[in-house]
Symmetry: C2
DNA sequence: CTGTTAGCGCCTTCAA
DNA sequence: TTGAAGGCGCTAACAG
């Protein structure tokens, strides 16, 4: 327990009380450098008595670092929604663990991709030692521009040879193909894709899906553009079914999209999987809990988070890195 | 677009280039103090040319602040799970918006409530200007200890007169009572509560629920202790049903708990709401999307987040604040 | 083993 | 209107 005896705001206060120099206090408290064990113990005891701790901000300034890593989600609007998206939440949680395991704080800041300088501004403000971008959205150009002169940055998202930055992500194209094959194998003939293709990840899922379809089914496949938000995708799905469409196989761009489609379908008496099979993407925790349990293309979010942090730490240390792609896996449950 | 001409790392570099003093550069870039408009424009132009921005960390050190607010989740184990819990995620997202609207960064740090000094350590390390705790867990004693000498802190959670700190939260007792009345009104006679009572919020929900039950039903009510994680609560529910229990009305401590119960029930052929009515708590976004759509006691998470930030800002400004309690609202959908 | 000194990058009186 | 100087709280040579 801490009993405050007198206000000790800095190591110089403590040095005065202990009758030593500030550097001795610094050495005692950081454990760096050499110091007589007894003086070290004595100073630490005094610090404890006064409830004193080194000011991390000042320490970092002096050390030329911040001790924090910025985790940024480059999405234009719907900020709240984006941050509370289950996939991002799970990614965020795993990033938080991996980062704090290595002694880094997580800094979440408002960064709306508006104007070409949003990322540059953040970088130059010097608030973090590195940056993890979760999703590249449509900001590939901006990212390449930054990557040319800013090293400590990694990106979760689709790999592309023309990217100058390091990405970690799944083979979305292969994942889309898995979904297509599974639906085909179930005998589905009237297919639909629920999602958009503005971000490279989603575009690849869609492309992989379509490319694995026979020509006639591909041409008949409905491409239903939906928002990433639960409300948005549910509304789109509702409108789609209301217009009379009755696919027997659906591939959604994300699990949340799939859950939304199933909820909308229920309103029209469409049963899943009897009348319509639905496959999601991600395998978030909720995929197993939803009714019916979701068949989905799994991305290992935790492994991805750990890889992102690993690569970022290497880049912060000046080491060059290469992009990695995880193989997705089809998890068959009940929805398809 | 930024064209890097020569490395400008500090205002002194810029001062040299511009042929002025550092203080002039500081005044030009911060906009504070008086300065000839033309010199200000000139210096700003040079700064832009070199892609220079003031170092926020140094700025903050000098100003005696950090520009960041710590958002802490005091839960012992299961860190990843806790951070990705949908309720926390939604709260977090709204906090992020409110905080960044006021120019604050969000700092998420590992803070495991181990030992009595976890919060004190965080506070004294000086990494943030204030703290928002999401949930008080069983740390009331620690919080009171800190509150006695640390002002800029607010807590999401249950109100209690003996708390020295400011809380924002719902009237959990009233919420529990609402759930009880609704189940009673539906004619449920074999009731069960899924949750634990270690945190004051949950204890109040349980107490409110039980106190609104007639004596005989209260005594027959099953109290099923479940973890907060989806996996944990699902496993507990599974075991409970497997033991042969067949309640016709369930009140779960959270929406995620309710969804887990419904998933487990499905495995035993228990239909919701026909065989068993289920009420959740929170009204997370997913409550409406789950099958069947969840009847639940709604907390306005966004309003709560805004209130937390408002109160915190007042406390950071030295103003005294009072705890607030929101009235919960029963949202009737299909599960009960 | 410990003290002195010089900053990290910035802001802010106080003078000129 | 601008510059010089001191210092936010800390660390790391360099001496002694």
């Amino acid at each position: 327990m801490t009993s405050v005896i007198s206000p000790v705001r800095s190591i110089s206060d403590l040095a005065r009380i202990a009758g030593v120099s500030v550097s001795t206090v610094s050495r005692a408290l950081t454990g760096k450098g050499t110091l007589n064990q007894s003086t070290r113990d004595r100073i630490r005891a005094i610090a404890d008595d006064h409830g004193f701790r080194l000011n991390v901000a000042a320490q970092n300034l002096r050390l030329g670092r911040t001790g924090a890593v910025g985790v940024l989600l480059p999405l234009g609007h719907e900020r709240a929604q984006a941050l509370s998206d289950p996939f991002f939440s799970e990614m965020f949680a795993h990033l938080a663990n991996a980062l704090t395991d290595h002694g880094y704080d997580l800094l979440v800041s408002r960064v709306l991709p508006q104007g070409p300088a949003w990322l540059d501004d953040f970088v130059r403000s010097g608030r973090t030692d590195g940056i993890i971008l979760v999703g590249q959205s449509d900001q590939g150009t901006v990212l390449n521009h930054i990557a040319a002169h800013y090293r400590p940055m990694v990106v979760w998202g689709a790999y592309a040879p023309e990217n100058l930055y390091t990405t970690v992500g799944s083979d979305n194209h292969a994942g889309g193909a898995m979904a297509a094959k599974h639906l085909l194998q179930r005998g589905c003939r009237r297919l639909a894709w629920f999602g958009h293709a503005r971000a490279p990840e989603f575009a690849a899922r869609q492309a992989g899906f379509l490319s694995s379809l026979p020509d006639d089914l591909r041409q008949a496949c409905d491409l239903v553009p939906v928002h990433i938000t639960p409300e948005g995708s549910r509304a789109s799905a509702h409108a789609y079914f209301e217009a009379g469409h009755r696919p027997d196989g659906v591939f959604a761009a994300s699990d949340i999209g799939a859950i939304s489609v199933i909820a909308a379908a229920a309103e029209f008496g469409i049963r899943v999987p009897e009348d319509m099979a639905v496959i999601g993407f991600d395998d978030i925790v909720l995929a197993r809990l939803s009714r019916p349990p979701l068949t989905t293309v799994r991305q290992d979010i935790e492994a991805g988070a750990r890889m992102l942090v690993d690569l970022l730490r290497r880049r912060m240390a000046g080491v060059e890195t290469q992009s990695v792609q995880f193989a997705p896996k089809l998890i068959v449950r009940e929805s398809a």
